[in-house]
């Protein structure tokens, strides 16, 4: 069972990619990209887990308690912020694509060259 969290990561990536490939709507495609990216949270938190460790917050527990790795948790936070920025920009591109071409279907959009 030691690799189970990592198998979950691979599963989330591939499911998200499948959604992106088969998507017929740009908004849905952006959501699928969020799914792909959320695999990195599972990966980071899974990598940094220490058996029996507590969350790295020592306000009401001993500072010497065994804790999980705080560095990867901070990286997961960075990841969330980048995802928010990427999602915001992609959604605004989707709005503009709809305004210009009147469709959100990536297959139809591919027919408009340039």
């Amino acid at each position: 069972m030691q690799v189970f969290p990592f198998l979950v990561v691979a599963w989330i990536v591939i499911v998200g990619l499948y959604g992106m490939i088969t998507s017929r709507d740009l908004i849905h495609q952006v959501v699928c990209l969020i799914v792909v990216q959320s695999s990195t949270y599972v990966l980071l938190l899974g990598v940094g887990y220490v058996t029996g460790g507590v969350a790295p917050y020592f306000f009401d527990i001993s500072p010497h308690a065994k804790a999980v790795d705080p560095v990867v948790q901070a990286l997961a936070l960075t990841d969330v912020v980048v995802e928010a920025a990427v999602t915001a920009l992609l959604l605004s591109f989707a709005v503009q694509a709809y305004k210009r071409f009147g469709t959100l279907d990536p297959h139809e959009l591919a027919e408009f060259k340039g």
């Binding site: 069972m1 030691q2 690799v3 189970f4 969290p5 990592f6 198998l7 990561v9 691979a10 990536v13 591939i14 990619l17 499948y18 490939i21 088969t22 899974g46 990598v47 940094g48 887990y49 220490v50 058996t51 029996g52 969350a55 790295p56 917050y57 020592f58 306000f59 500072p63 804790a67 999980v68 790795d69 705080p70 560095v71 990867v72 948790q73 901070a74 936070l77 960075t78 969330v80 912020v81 980048v82 928010a84 920025a85 990427v86 915001a88 920009l89 959604l91 605004s92 591109f93 709005v95 503009q96 709809y98 305004k99 009147g102 297959h107």
Partner: protein, 259 residues
């Protein structure tokens, strides 16, 4: 390429990707045995060095402070980029061919009294929680990023309640732009101030307090987290506001058309 060909292409590529994943996972230390040197080293010295009990915030705003400046400017740039992408072009007309725009006779249902009261009741508590999170990064699992998003939510609860005009007045663009700049610039300025005092960039030069985890502890960590909270809240109000403007304009156009 037809959808069917595309799918087959994906299945082959996904199988290869899955194989590479499994190969990589075979070389990882097992779940729960992370041997990373930095985490334990930071956990060992963080309270003595910074007086912050929220170690993730300490990593973000102290050890990795330089990265977080960049991270904050990513959000800043995204908000600016959205304003550019969604600006109204000179020859762009508000009319469009969407079903909603074509069904002009359709009434837009008014917000129900229950939704209105509930959302307005939630505005205060949400703002307090957001503020509390943004100012307690040194203590517990909170910080500017989390608090800022919740502060922005308080604005959008006003929007949900159907008070479009109040909502518009609540976010004058000039004020939001200024607070975003103060948040992002303040973070960088704290770093530069340290350099001016002949200390390394983003060095924690403020008094650390005496009680670990207290509001007054952790020096620049708490201050930076608060500035990040302001920046994130403004950025999210701008980002979501830009997207909502697209709908608001459309609704306003529909209302004028029906009257």
């Amino acid at each position: 390429m037809t959808p069917r060909q595309r799918l087959w292409f994906f299945v082959i590529a996904a199988a290869g990707l899955a194989a590479c994943y499994l190969w990589a996972f075979a070389g990882l230390p097992g779940f729960g045995n992370y041997p990373g040197p930095y985490g334990p080293a930071i956990l060992h010295e963080v309270i003595g060095r910074t007086n912050a009990t929220g170690v993730v915030s300490a990593v973000n705003f102290e050890y990795r402070g330089f990265d977080t400046v960049g991270e904050e400017f990513i959000l800043f740039t995204a908000a600016a980029g959205m304003s550019v992408v969604l600006r109204r072009l000179r020859d762009e007309r508000e009319e469009d061919s969407s079903p909603a725009a074509q069904a002009e006779s359709r009434e837009i249902p008014a917000t129900s009294a229950a939704v209105r009261v509930l959302t307005l009741l939630m505005v205060g508590p949400t703002a307090v929680i957001g503020w509390w999170l943004a100012t307690h990064a040194q203590t517990n699992p909170s910080g500017g990023f989390q608090g800022g998003v919740i502060l922005a939510t308080a604005f959008f609860l006003v929007y949900l309640s159907g008070e479009f005009i109040v909502f518009r007045r609540l976010r004058p663009d000039a004020v939001i732009d200024a607070s975003e700049a103060i948040g992002a610039g303040g973070f960088a300025a704290i770093g530069v101030t340290a350099v001016a005092m002949s200390l390394p960039y983003l060095y924690n030069y403020l008094p650390l307090g005496t009680i670990p985890g207290a509001i007054s502890s952790s020096g620049t960590i708490a201050l930076i987290s608060f500035l990040v909270g302001i920046e994130v809240a403004s950025a999210f109000v701008l980002i979501i506001g830009e997207l909502l403007d697209q709908t608001l304009l459309r609704q306003a156009a529909g209302r004028e058309g029906s009257s």
